[in-house]
């Protein structure tokens, strides 16, 4: 069904590519909107938390990010495939239209993010592939460390525009680029 519609990024009219903010030699952070993205919210059925965690761990080619107790965001796979694969283990709901994911990376990434969240993101404390649920600028954010100095921030679609404005404002002092 969803193939009949063209999914438009909620940030299509605001996240323009280019170089912005302070003019240092290299940009402090690089932002990119991950669109389109396949996002499925997955919640373990009663008594199936362990089996679900194992099924996700053994599923190659899929990213399963912790999103609360016995809950995950499954990325990169279409909804029907996720639902079939996790049948009996979890309740699944398609959030591809409901959330926007912004990737932020670069040498100043922690300087930007620590203006918004109390979560300790130091590399010795917050390892790669780990996720946290927190709040930045009053917006609920699901964040995941995806590389050495790279994070993905997932927010509700309706908040993504004001969140983008906040994020770019915080990045200005370091210089940022949008790709």
């Amino acid at each position: 069904m969803s193939d009949q519609f063209t999914r438009i990024s909620p940030l299509a009219d605001i996240a323009f590519q280019g170089r912005f903010g302070a003019d240092h030699a290299a940009p402090g952070v690089t932002l990119s909107v991950q669109h389109p993205a396949a996002i499925v919210a997955v919640i373990a059925r009663k008594g199936k938390a362990k089996a679900l965690a194992e099924a996700l761990q053994n599923w190659r080619g899929v990213r399963a990010q912790w999103a609360g107790a016995e809950q995950y965001f499954v990325l990169d796979k279409p909804f029907d495939e996720v639902r079939k694969k996790l049948d009996g283990l979890a309740s699944c709901s398609d959030q591809s239209h409901g959330r926007a994911i912004i990737r932020i990376e670069g040498p100043k990434v922690r300087h930007v993010l620590c203006k918004g969240t109390p979560v300790d993101l130091h590399e010795s404390e917050f390892e790669i592939d780990r996720s946290a649920l927190t709040q930045m600028a009053h917006v609920g954010v699901h964040l995941t460390r995806i590389g050495r100095d790279a994070f993905e921030l997932s927010v509700f679609r309706g908040f993504s525009e004001s969140f983008w404005e906040w994020l770019t404002e915080q990045s200005e002092e370091f210089g940022y680029q949008v790709i």
Binding site: G68, A69, P118, V119, A132, L133, T134, Q135, G140
Partner: protein, 93 residues
């Protein structure tokens, strides 16, 4: 005040929503004769000075319901458990 969420780690109080006394227990019966118990359960609350078990929602975090034991006078937090574990413990007791 900081609360150590069992799922998320230590977070500031701004991330949480407080929802009152966790010691009250829903009456088992719907019999109209138990109206007094229901009135107590729905409306009447103690206002203790000192140690207090309280329902707390990690609303800006993992969205789990927790029970936080704290001192209402000093805000010292003695312990945090999930509401699920709190309920299970109560069934056993």
């Amino acid at each position: 005040m900081r609360i150590n969420c069992p799922h998320c780690g230590t977070r500031p109080v701004e991330e949480f929503t407080f929802n009152g006394d966790a010691s009250v227990q829903r009456p088992a019966s719907n019999d109209p004769k138990t109206m007094d118990q229901w009135f107590d359960y729905v409306y009447l609350r103690d206002n203790p000075k000192g140690r207090f078990d309280e329902y707390v929602h990690h609303s800006s975090g993992c969205r789990a319901w927790l029970v936080v034991t704290r001192d209402t006078q000093t805000h010292e937090v003695f312990g945090v458990v999930t509401a699920r574990d709190h309920a299970k413990k109560r069934v056993k007791a």
